[in-house]
Symmetry: none
Subunit: 404 residues, 2 copies
């Protein structure tokens, strides 16, 4: 499908009060169960989504291109209309922004994992048995207050469970660094290397930080080491209000998704842990924004755990909540995922993602259930994820005509 | 959909005598009526198109990309295989070429509206109550013969109703100018400004022209002023005979479409006002050309008027004429539109446009009526308009193999 540049959309975008709600069921797309021959969506009892599909337009979205499995960062950028190949965002920045850390332009952020190592410093668990978030906070405080590295200010901030962000601050320091995390168990962590000459001082500082951290953490098994990866700086992304002329808000429960939304200029709304909490937040804030990014995480986590039934249950839970969203009468409602996470693969996959577009300007397409197999018949055909934002804007009459 | 560059097509194109007829039902695509739930195509009794659909291949074409609403200029360029984002054509040039004005390379053309202003020079009707074409001719002659501006030769030529073209001629004059037309009623017209230093002399001349025009027109209420917009020069477009190796002809009743066709190198055939007149022209000229652009305007005008029934009637009228086209046995017949103009929206829209491709080299796809909903099942899927010309050439065996 043809894709136009975001600059092209920017010239056509106009402001109006119509509301767009983009529901992202993370890792939505699935594969058939080997037992039943049905996918997660086909197995789930989702009568509200199915009824909506009958009066909407359905189809598929490729997050990047056929065959490409995306991470959550690029997949979300594409949904927001940002070319995920042009804009690469480091994992470190995503995490730091996601936890609400006030990052400065020259800061270098990294994603940190507490992990378990044995006596030979071989990594035996990259996630330190998924320690509690409480424990993570405690260890982060300990590291931040005890580690001193010359010329650098260092922040160690907890995310969830074993995850943390470590931010290195020094004016004009380079941030082009290799990872210490080997991304595999059974290996030792790697020495951080500078990938350009401007980053050599930073590499020395980061290795010094890790040495001190190892020393402090050694008595805290299973979280007796720290791994760093994804060193990155704040990217200069066009902001949604400038490009699309919408005030936009994010309703998401996990830090990384909040981080992504913040990078493109969305306001991050405080919300609770459940889909019902998120809908309450949507309702309360409906009049203040024109665009809502509404994120549901658990479809992906259950897919990654290989838990077919749990993924089905999340879909059914969302389905029960759907009428509450429909009752808010958004002008445009898009249901889709950022990528597929089939339970059978226990991982993100390359499969195109079902999409449903509801607006008063669609011609329904005869799709009778919102499933992968029914979406094959959908009137939207196979889109690229970058087409979704222009379509949502068009259906809310927020794009002017191009040319005379 | 993947798109190849026109230069790529040019290298593959070969000449043969096969005939291609591209029928453009302007503003073809529609939306459902709120009363009946059916679109214009679904409502129309179009048994000939439906029979043809059963032995053809159907699908959709996006004029630019999903979500983008095109004007007629870019939408037609795309149908002719010219990238509408690369080639932007000014409204002034379109009008001037459309009325058959012999434009020179350094001419600066503008689109003119006769309009009505009140005593405070506030525009009360941008279209001067749609004065008759006769009146427009008379006023244009009056202006052209009476206005003198130093160093410039000026042509004032009528289009239809309140529309005219004003062409400013001076060797090497710049034509990068702002509009005087504020595109809104309740405002005064704006002073023309040069948008680069090379256009300053032209700006002075145009403002002088407008001052004299105002003085001459003041006694001709409701057409007591003139507005100018879309200043532009002749674009240097590749010509169809060079790119596609076809002799091409345009059968169209409205100036702008003739203008567009002329820009890409088509010969403009004289024809009458009705679809039957246009078919007669096609028949008479069939042996002299290999490619025919056959334009039907009234589907769009009735859509823009919000007249659902009138749009249905035009579709039915064309359907009755279709056998006369089929009797001419074109090797390739494409039915499509340049863009959608749903009566419900009273405007061009972003919706993809139904397309039907008839040739002896298609596999029929089970589409039983030529409607939006049936086209969802079509074997062509969702194309970009830029794919249509290569497909038509391929089906008439006018494209060589690429590579060994």
């Amino acid at each position: 499908m043809n894709i136009v540049d975001q600059k092209f959309i920017e010239k056509l975008a106009i402001s109006n009060s119509a509301k767009i709600v983009l529901v992202v069921l993370d890792g939505l797309g699935g594969l058939t169960s080997e037992k039943t021959g049905k996918t997660e969506l086909e197995t789930a009892n989702t009568k509200n989504m199915d009824e909506l599909a009958k009066i909407s337009q359905c189809g598929f979205s490729y997050p990047i291109a056929p065959g490409i499995t995306p991470g959550s960062g690029p997949a979300h950028l594409a949904l927001f209309g940002y070319d995920p190949i042009k804009y690469e965002i480091g994992r470190g920045i995503l995490g730091a922004v996601g936890i609400g850390f006030e990052i400065k332009q020259s800061d270098i952020a990294s994603r940190a994992n507490f992990c378990t190592v044995d006596e030979q410093e071989i990594i035996t668990d990259r996630r330190a048995g998924r320690i509690s978030t409480e424990k993570c906070k405690e260890l982060c405080q300990l590291l931040e207050s005890n580690i001193k590295v010359k010329n650098f200010e260092i922040f160690v901030r907890p995310e969830k469970e074993h995850r943390a962000s470590v931010i290195f601050r020094k004016e004009n320091a380079g941030g082009n660094l290799s990872d210490s995390d080997p991304q595999k168990e059974g290996l030792q962590s790697k020495e951080i290397k500078a990938l350009d000459s401007n980053s050599e001082i930073t590499a020395i500082a980061v290795n010094e930080f890790l040495a001190q951290a190892k020393n402090i953490l050694k008595e805290f098994k299973p979280s007796n080491m720290m791994l760093l990866r994804g060193f990155s700086k704040y990217p200069d992304l066009p902001q949604m209000q400038d490009v699309y002329k919408v005030k936009s808000a994010a309703i998401a429960t996990y830090p990384m998704y909040k981080g992504l939304a913040k990078l493109v200029g969305m306001e991050i709304l405080q919300t609770g842990d459940t889909i019902r909490d998120e809908i309450k937040t949507l309702k309360e804030n409906l009049s203040n924004f024109e665009f809502f990014y509404f994120h549901i995480k658990k479809t992906d986590s259950s897919g990654e755990d290989g838990n077919f039934d749990a993924k089905v249950a999340v879909l059914e839970d969302f389905d029960r909540c759907l009428p509450d969203i429909l009752n808010l009468n958004p002008d445009v409602l898009v249901l889709t995922g950022d990528h597929s996470t089939p339970s059978r693969l226990k991982a993100h996959s390359w499969h195109p993602v079902p999409i449903l577009l509801s607006s008063k300007y669609v011609i329904s397409d005869g799709v009778s259930r919102w499933t992968e197999r029914e979406c094959y018949k959908g009137g939207l055909g196979h889109l690229n994820a970058l087409n979704i934002m222009p379509l949502a804007l068009a259906h809310s009459l927020k794009l002017k005509k191009y040319g005379a």
